[in-house]
Symmetry: C2
Subunit: 220 residues, 2 copies
């Protein structure tokens, strides 16, 4: 096994359309870095839960966060297994039969044990990575977190133990005989996510500068 | 309990920012109907998995689908519990301290036991609801599914047993004293998903009409 590839396991191996599965670090990281939004799967009393939150990455470590009061974070702080899934739905694939319809997507499933980032310095360092990744320069524009605020925020870190990325791109793949006979419009209807026009808080101080990160349209 | 409200349970009750939680059917359905993309949580051998797929609704019943070969569908066909989560990330909320940063979102978590929709007619009826919801008129434009294709497609149905919606909208909520002293730009950076320009398959038959559903920009 190459050191820059996650070993496909029973848990991470892509079963369906396995030729779309990728296990190299670069492919897994590319999907993680393409979208800060994720869904965290965890188990309480044998039942599955899926909670949306933000994730960010530092090397092989993925961070996610939330309130100290949340069900998810009260559970995973005990060190339970989580599945962190990031999905970009890139478009609908319209094919010549209902069954050949598909989606274009880039998704990743990461498995590991999450633990709480303890200590104010480590927690602040992790939060700063997130904010600077999303809104470069903003960390120094706002006031610092208070001790109380830091207590209310929980940051979780998960070293990726197993992971697989799955990617579909391109046109429909139809049965040979259908290309000459089916008269429908076929192709890809892309889904595009962009930043909308920024909406300033009416209570902003007068003359506040517009930061460069508000001028972007391309997400993220 | 009103008949048009899901009873908040240990599983579905919104713990964090509980004032954002809603349990009435209309709120739950509104989020489900706002986005066909979902993440399904399920448990195998005690471990959580989160798989992205498409969902659609008929009354209190939510459908989702995939390949008969997928890990997810081979597992849930046995009737295990699933958590179906739909999330719209509507924007970043930029506040005056790092901790008050937030997201605007509309999300729903639905809990229930999924079962396989058996029988060609029931399966086709369910698939038609999905396709006609997404691309009205398309079902009759393409050729019908073959017997073999129907075997390769699995449709799952889940009657919603418990559910909660959670919604955040609007401006940051900062500490009183920060409004007069923090000089950052604050507000909402919306995230907007739209349909991009449709990309026709080069192998479409000549003179194929452009269906009305390709002229939409607003998603879904």
């Amino acid at each position: 096994m190459s050191s820059n590839t996650f070993k496909p396991t029973k848990r991470s191996k892509v079963k369906r359309q396995h030729e779309r599965g990728k296990y190299d670090h670069a492919s897994v990281h590319a999907v993680l870095d393409s979208n800060p939004m994720c869904h965290i799967g965890y188990v309480i009393d044998g039942n599955p839960y899926v909670t949306p939150t933000l994730q960010w990455r530092e090397g092989e470590r993925v961070y996610f966060h939330g309130s100290s009061a949340s069900r998810m974070l009260r559970t995973v702080r005990e060190g339970v297994q989580v599945c962190l899934t990031v999905t970009n739905f890139d478009g609908f694939v319209l094919a010549r039969s209902p069954m050949h319809h598909s989606l274009n997507y880039r998704s990743v499933m990461c498995f590991g044990t999450a633990h709480v980032v303890e200590g104010r310095e480590a927690k602040e360092a992790a939060l700063k990575i997130m904010m600077e990744g999303l809104f470069p320069g903003r960390w120094d524009e706002v006031r610092g977190n208070s001790v109380q605020e830091m207590k209310a925020t929980m940051v979780l870190a998960m070293d990726i133990e197993e992971a697989s990325a799955k990617v579909r791109t391109g046109m429909p793949i139809d049965d040979d005989e259908d290309y000459d006979t089916v008269n429908s419009w076929n192709g890809v209807v892309p889904l595009v996510t962009t930043y909308g026009k920024a909406e300033p808080d009416p209570r902003n101080l007068p003359g506040v500068a517009t930061p460069a990160y508000l001028k972007r349209r391309k997400y993220p």
